[in-house]
Symmetry: C2
Subunit: 327 residues, 2 copies
């Protein structure tokens, strides 16, 4: 049994706890938190909740630590630090900073012979894999990624920082016409506005100037100015009842040309439709925790991404069984 | 430059020739045929067409041989034979006989330290990969594979063997309602009849009993009896004009449950829509020819499937470039 620890017990950490129940070859061994451990109660009987500060004591008692912190400030510090103690898996998702994160984690993990899987989840993660496979198979082609319908945390936060806003949620919605064009194989050039719509649900403070809030949202550079944005003002009760979900999803579509005169079109499409974004992400992290153990058993160490992992290493079945049943 | 040979110059072999034009790191070095080489003309200037019997002379002049024969009689002999001379890639697609083929090829390839990639293409191949990834990520779930709309060679052949039939083509068509149910996450139990429809276009010989032909098709065990089958009789001119294409495609869909009480649904869908089935299959084979070279450079030998290959090995880009651009 692979002994798994969870660092951070937010939505993702809770998802890991659930996901481990379906993994017959792994067991949840401890949960670590920066809060006072006695204030955190988990769903698995008999598993200790420990202070993050005690983690060094667990060096011999855990095989893999799954890091459930955020990409802005937690993971850039945690992943390289904990890769010195355990095999680790993170979901670092700041695409532009992946090379930097990779280098730092790689050095730390190699020092102690651990495997550190970074940027695991669905984007980066499964969507990246599909971009890679599709590009390798259809080199003469073009891919597009669409996100949604789902909540963008960053955009929701940006709205909440506006004066007079009490609460807000922003949904990213792929535009059907753009999806249709990409699927047709015509390889259109699409602007940000043509690919996604942004729909916002805002709870304003009493007496706030909603006209001004709406204007501020719609003209916000980077976040909203380049998109068609719809703003709805709703009351707190409606917000709580209708906008507490964590559904998400998206599409990776590549079309390419084949044939002597490039006369044929091929379209590859991968899509996800998720009631719970953090739970699905957790499931991906758990599969890659298994893979980290397999890589380590092969003598591999250092930082790895989904691109480096033989697919069979994600499964608890043997190669023989996989060839017999699903190849 | 990886020196690539093609064994067999039918639709798949021609597809490999086209696909290699998009591979900057590979070059077509020779084409082998069992026909008289002087009767075979290829599309690439300066590349020799040789008799299959001469292949041993090419031992030092080729790196990878891509096998483009059929699964019924060619590949069970060829793959294990040629794996003693080169790294090889085949598209062996008799699912039930994969374990047997794997064992024979593995022994041959290991003897001489070659890498032999078998069952590469889209099913087995990319569809298998997607069944594996989806099952590993959503262990509490169920997947379905749908094929089409596209031509089934085996079913077309079966019709052509009926007395009074001059020519025939059979299209496998996934049933929209079944797709919808599977996508909804409800995990229905579907019979063969509920998943696919079979549509046949038949050219009858003059004076043939078309009523009897139709009856024979519709009641043919294994091939048609378990399906709703539509039979059209058409003339030869229409057949040539409308049914010479090689389009195909299909869907792999898995839905699964996440959450503490399994209260959330996640749906993963992968689909292909191909104007040319053999050309797309060829593109997949070429990407795995590259991967075979990479595995060999790692010191790997023996029989491998798509399950064993790190995705990055399919790409001509470096790990650094992949992490920077598409992760």
């Amino acid at each position: 049994m692979v002994r798994v620890g969870i660092m951070g017990y937010g939505n993702l950490g809770k998802g890991i706890e659930c996901a481990l129940r379906d993994a017959k070859d792994m067991t949840l061994t401890a949960v670590f938190t920066r809060r006072s451990p006695e204030t955190v109660s988990i769903q698995t009987a008999g598993v200790p909740v420990c202070s993050a500060e005690e983690i060094t004591d667990w060096k011999e008692k855990l095989d893999v630590l799954i890091l459930c912190g955020g990409s802005a400030t937690d993971l850039p510090e945690q992943t390289k630090q904990y890769a010195k103690l355990f095999h680790v898996v993170d979901s670092f998702d700041t695409h532009a900073k992946i090379p930097e994160h990779f280098a730092a984690v790689d050095a730390a993990a190699k020092e102690t012979g651990h495997v550190a899987m970074i940027s695991v989840g669905w984007d980066p993660g499964m969507f990246s894999l599909n971009r890679l496979y599709a590009e390798a198979i259809l080199p003469d082609g073009k891919h597009e990624t669409f996100w949604g319908k789902g909540v963008s945390q960053g955009h929701s936060d940006a709205i909440r920082r506006i004066e007079g806003v009490k609460n807000a949620k922003q949904y990213t919605i792929p535009i059907e016409d753009a999806l249709k064009k990409v699927r047709s194989g015509e390889q259109p050039e699409l602007t940000a506005r043509q690919k996604h719509l942004r729909e916002c649900f805002v709870v304003a403070e009493e007496g706030a100037d909603t006209k001004k809030i709406e204007e501020t949202i719609k003209t916000m550079p980077n976040y909203f100015a380049d998109y068609d944005t719809i703003v709805h003002f709703i009351d707190e009760k409606t917000f709580a009842a209708e906008h507490s979900g964590m559904a998400h999803g998206g599409f990776v579509i590549r079309s390419g040309k084949t044939g002597l005169a490039k006369e044929h079109t091929a379209v590859i499409e991968y899509s996800l439709q998720l009631d719970s974004n953090p739970e699905f992400t957790a499931n991906v992290l758990v599969a890659y925790a298994r893979a980290a153990m397999r890589l380590s058993a092969d003598g591999v160490s250092g930082c790895k991404t989904v691109f480096d992992v033989p697919p069979a290493y994600l499964s608890d079945k043997s190669g023989e069984e996989l060839r017999k049943t699903i190849l």
